[in-house]
């Protein structure tokens, strides 16, 4: 077991942020290897507990997870170190691209490339609707929930935030009805 220090945690999570392309779920095995197997900062059970909490809270999952692990290990300073480590590679890469890309605005070749990319991005976003439906618990009885929320946002311009708030209230109501009777 290697002792925890905010600096070491920053380095570890910087590495995790840098080597995971494609987002949250890709990071889980990386984080596990670093935090459980290599440094032995957490047991496997603690790791799982913190993962469940990070998934239940709102926000970016990978950042939640870093904050949860950091907080468990080193309080507020620990959680700040892990969170900053996780987002630093994003900030560096994105700003480099943004500054570079600004010079390229209006370039015909770049514009043509992105004309090809935009429909592909739409397809990328459509994907989870189909392969996550089962995991999300969508059945014939619940299929109205995603349809109504999509229509409210897409056609009536309702903010997704209000749709989420309504969903939370609906869940609480469902619990009260079930347990009240």
């Amino acid at each position: 077991m290697s002792p925890f220090s905010p600096l070491k945690a920053f380095g570890t999570f910087f590495k995790i942020g840098l080597f995971t392309i494609g987002g949250g779920p890709v990071m889980i095995p990386f984080i596990e290897r670093e935090v459980v197997a290599k440094n032995e900062w957490l047991t496997k059970e603690e790791f799982m507990d913190l993962m469940v909490v990070s998934q239940s809270l709102p926000g970016v999952f990978a950042a939640n997870f870093a904050i949860a692990i950091g907080y468990r290990l080193g309080g507020r300073r620990g959680s700040a170190a892990c969170a900053i480590g996780t987002v630093m590679p994003s900030i560096i890469c994105i700003l480099t691209i943004a500054l570079f890309f600004q010079q390229m605005r209006g370039n015909t070749v770049v514009e043509n490339v992105f004309r090809g990319i935009r429909p592909a991005v739409t397809a990328l976003i459509l994907g989870p609707i189909f392969h996550l439906s089962k995991a999300a618990g969508i059945t014939w009885r619940t299929v109205w929930i995603p349809i109504v929320s999509a229509l409210l946002i897409w056609q009536l311009g309702v903010s997704p935030i209000w749709v989420i708030v309504a969903g939370i209230l609906g869940g609480v109501a469902k619990y009260l009805v079930k347990n009240g009777s």
């Binding site: 239940s56 043509n112 976003i125």
Partner: protein
């Protein structure tokens, strides 16, 4: 005041961002394009593409890039843009910090509580609707072209969208590779057949 608005917007996105990267993308799109008009649909779509292809969580990448673009589009210089990107990123993280400090101990005990389970039994399917709305809103004239005014671009876009969908979901090709190939096809095709 763009910086105050960025802070409020991304704090809200962090606070209500249930359901992972693409659900957060739909929140960002709604706030940033539909509500505040800080950028066009196409600019936002390009940001999603870059966010997917660069290291790090897609939600953080998008927040960073949107913060920069929103400030630069408002007429301020690139260094203010960098400040905007840092502000957007840390505003997204702030609710996570606060919630983790307040409720993490409590939540470890109660993640199995029937009330928590009831809330998530609604939120999980709802998030699929959120993602669907983001995809539907991006399928517009700006990104796909117009069926009558720019027919060629429209047809090519529909084919690229359908092919990418099959490649990612049916043939399990890495999405980053799919986006790159679509970019090459766009570059070559529109190079020979300018719009």
């Amino acid at each position: 005041m763009i910086f105050l608005e960025l802070f409020i917007t991304f704090f809200k996105i962090g606070l209500f961002g249930f359901g992972g990267g693409l659900a957060i993308i739909s929140l960002i799109q709604n706030e940033v394009v539909s509500k505040h008009a800080w950028m066009t649909f196409s600019e936002f779509t390009d940001i999603v593409a870059v966010s997917q292809m660069t290291p790090g969580p897609i939600g953080i990448n998008a927040a960073t890039y949107v913060g920069y673009t929103a400030v630069v589009n408002s007429g301020l210089g690139a260094s203010w843009g960098i400040a905007g990107s840092l502000l957007a990123t840390f505003s997204t993280l702030l609710p996570s910090f606060i919630l983790m400090l307040l409720v993490s101990r409590f939540l470890i005990k109660y993640t199995d509580h029937p009330a928590v389970r009831a809330v998530f039994s609604i939120l999980r399917p709802l998030v699929i609707g959120l993602i669907a709305s983001a995809a539907l809103m991006l399928m517009n004239e700006e990104n796909f072209g117009n069926p009558t005014k720019s027919t060629t671009q429209f047809v090519v876009s529909v084919i690229l969208c359908a092919a990418s969908f099959l490649a990612i979901n049916k043939w399990k090709v890495n999405p980053i590779f799919v986006i790159l190939v679509a970019g090459v096809i766009g570059g070559v095709f529109y190079g020979f057949f300018p719009i």
